[in-house]
């Protein structure tokens, strides 16, 4: 037996240390701080459609920034998911949810929310080979896929753009099933990027996409075109904004908004909206366009008659989130932090001292605050050392 002393002691040493380490690890593990929604006004039931991801940074917690997810009013940490599910996590709430629910349909599709439109019955995807395989050269071929959520039936159509120009970027996909409207930017390599609107009938598919409108020509400017962030892709209007770069100095530039437009997916017309000045914002919800005007304490909301462009004042909504008043644009979209969905205005940002994420939901007709509140840690003592940074936000139009 003595000849096994070395072997048994080394194995015992490993076992003891590994077990000790495991026990220490479990003991030393501080559980992720619990989150809660603190309601200042209204009722928390209204936050149902809000889905967001945030990083939780504890100034005493080293370099660990766990990701927290708010979905349907509940907070969960990414690390609560199993190892394999964590690998498939997508840092976009819409795509992540689609992958969880329609894994097979989402396979092989570009995980960009702007390329999807979801309704209660269908999920529609538009993409091309270069979207899913980056070294493939651009072509005018596109794939349109539609999933029937109930029957799980997937239909895929291969279509090409009417003109031979290669396409660059799908800017937006809107659907009023079975009709589909695509906003596509083409000819990325030329000096002037053209943005086109195409229509497609999912029930009566053709192999060529017919251009409904050349937005660039209709708008008549080569200024950069931004598409409004609308979380419901069944809206009638697509809000648009043109902007140009002003070079301020050798190292800096600023962007100047040069015009607001709306594309009507029903009439396929571009509506130029006049009378916008600094602090004006454009929203859409269902069949209506809205204009917001920044005030000292919030935003004045108008309903816009698209025929004569007459504005009817709905009232002023007081905003308790100062930074929501400023328009936020990135990745070619605007209105990141404020939008109207099913008659409610949703805004998010941070409290005045910048310490906590803040949410506000108001009824656009009565201007009543349905919900005003913040995201905080359950353990109030930790609020000073811990901050939550919102990294992704979206509204789920299918939750009311």
């Amino acid at each position: 037996m003595s000849k096994y002393i070395k072997l048994s002691s080394i194995i015992l040493f490993i076992a003891v240390i590994m077990t000790g380490f495991g026990i220490y690890k479990i003991q030393a593990k501080t559980p992720q701080p619990d989150m809660k929604i603190v309601t200042a006004e209204g009722m928390p039931k209204y936050i149902g459609p809000i889905e967001l991801y945030g990083f939780v940074a504890d100034s005493n917690g080293g370099f660990n920034y766990p990701t927290v997810e708010l979905d349907n009013g509940n907070f969960t940490y990414l690390e609560e998911r199993s190892f394999l599910k964590r690998l498939d996590f997508n840092y976009n709430p819409m795509i992540d949810e689609l992958i969880i629910n329609y894994r097979s349909f989402m396979r092989g599709k570009s995980p960009q929310p702007k390329q999807f439109a979801e309704t209660a019955q269908h999920v529609v995807y538009v993409g091309s080979e270069s979207d899913v395989h980056w070294s493939t050269s651009l072509s005018n071929q596109m794939t349109i896929s539609v999933l029937d959520k109930e029957t799980k039936e997937e239909k895929t159509f291969s279509v090409k753009l009417e003109d031979s120009s290669s396409y660059n970027d799908i800017r937006a996909v809107y659907t009023d099933y079975p009709s589909l409207t695509l906003l596509v930017s083409t000819d990325a390599n030329s000096d002037s990027i053209q943005t086109h609107a195409y229509t497609f009938d999912l029930e009566n598919p053709k192999d060529t996409l017919t251009e409904a409108t050349n937005l660039t020509k209709e708008i008549g400017t080569n200024d950069y075109l931004y598409v409004g962030e609308t979380y419901d892709k069944t809206e009638r209007y697509v809000t648009l904004q043109t902007a140009k770069e002003n070079i301020d100095s050798m190292y800096g530039y600023s962007e100047e908004i040069t015009g607001y437009y709306a594309y009507d997916t029903m009439t396929q017309e571009v509506i130029k909206l006049d009378g916008f000045d600094e602090g004006t914002r454009l929203f859409t919800d269902n069949d209506t366009l809205y204009v917001g005007q920044k005030t000292n304490s919030g935003i004045e909301l108008y309903e816009l008659n698209q025929d004569d462009q007459k504005k009817t004042l709905l009232g002023e909504i007081t905003l308790s989130i100062p930074d929501a008043q400023e328009e936020m644009s990135y990745y070619g979209t605007f209105n990141q932090n404020m939008s109207i969905l099913n008659g409610k205005l949703y805004a998010y940002g941070y409290t005045e001292d910048g310490s906590k994420p803040a949410l506000q939901i108001s009824d656009i007709n009565t201007q009543d605050a349905l919900f005003k509140g913040t995201i905080e840690l359950k353990d109030a003592k930790k609020n000073d050392s811990t901050s939550v940074d919102i990294i992704e936000y979206r509204l789920n139009p299918l939750i009311d």
Binding site: A28, E129, H133, T136
Partner: protein
């Protein structure tokens, strides 16, 4: 079955005996160099602060602004800790090759005796394989011990004013090297261990190929290594071959990868068994 397990135990114990000197040296080296690091790095930091305060008549606050707080992570992320880990990994890699060749090229040709033992020759193979893993886990364990010893040392040298308050576990979690070495995330650690085991099986197979076919074996061995690598890396080329980056989810790619690694591992075991039983030359 009992007899062959007994033989495996005996041979493993015998192999471990032969490894022990080398292993104890690596363990000692790790402890000594780490200990030097636990003392030197925080002392250097404190000296810098003290010197700065004396030379500039600065307050502790100003010194903090210039040098920042010192955490155990700073000590971990130094040559004194990373160095021995690199030495350990290199050492075990070297030993994985040496464990076979010493039987042929040592002062005496022990390969004769080993291959003429009335036990399955794969028992030799497994005993060497297990011993390498025991070696690796011993070094991981000694590194753990060292960290537990080092943390209070560093905390004692750095005065509270300049300490960051980072806990031992937070410092370990923050260091990417320990994500590979320690079972911080059990599933991830299992993947690393599987990959390591397959690598070792392939390496042993290559050595046996060389021992069976001599010079020609070197080329066949390189071919076998390239083939194994190609099989394991194949999923990474799938997106390009199928012209779609999103055809597989990351979890599926990992499962495919694990399956392919297992296939390579099992193939290596079969090839090794064939070679050690039929082709090996003393």
């Amino acid at each position: 079955m009992k007899k062959s397990l007994n033989a495996l135990l005996k041979l493993t114990s015998f192999e471990l005996d032969r490894l022990s000197k080398f292993l104890f040296t690596l363990m000692g080296l790790t402890l000594v160099i780490n200990l030097a690091g636990y003392i030197y790095t925080p002392m250097r930091h404190m000296n810098k602060i003290n010197q700065f305060m004396t030379e500039n008549s600065a307050t502790a606050e100003e010194a903090l602004q210039t040098f920042g707080r010192f955490s155990f992570y700073n000590a971990l992320n130094s040559f004194w800790i990373v160095g021995p880990i690199v030495i350990g990994i290199t050492g075990m890699l070297f030993y994985s090759v040496f464990i076979w060749y010493r039987e042929w090229f040592g002062k005496n040709t022990f390969a004769y005796r080993l291959l003429m033992l009335p036990v399955s020759r794969m028992t030799l193979f497994f005993s060497k394989f297990i011993v390498i893993f025991i070696g690796i886990f011993t070094l991981i364990s000694i590194q753990m011990v060292s960290l537990f010893v080092g943390y209070p040392i560093v905390s004692a040298i750095i005065s509270d004013t300049y300490a960051s308050g980072l806990s031992l576990m937070e410092a370990i979690h923050a260091h990417p090297l320990f994500l590979f070495l320690f079972p911080l995330q059990p599933s991830y650690f299992m993947v690393i261990i599987t990959a390591g085991a397959v690598m070792l099986l392939v390496l042993f197979t290559i050595i046996l190929i060389e021992r069976s076919f001599s010079v020609r074996g070197i080329f066949i061995g390189i071919g076998y290594a390239a083939l194994s690598l190609a099989i394991v890396l194949f999923p990474l080329f799938l997106p390009n071959l199928l012209k779609n980056n999103y055809l597989f989810y990351s979890s599926e790619l990992l499962i495919i990868e694990l399956i392919l690694m297992t296939v390579v591992g099992i193939c290596s075991l079969f090839v090794s068994r064939y070679l050690i039983n039929n082709k090996i030359t003393v």
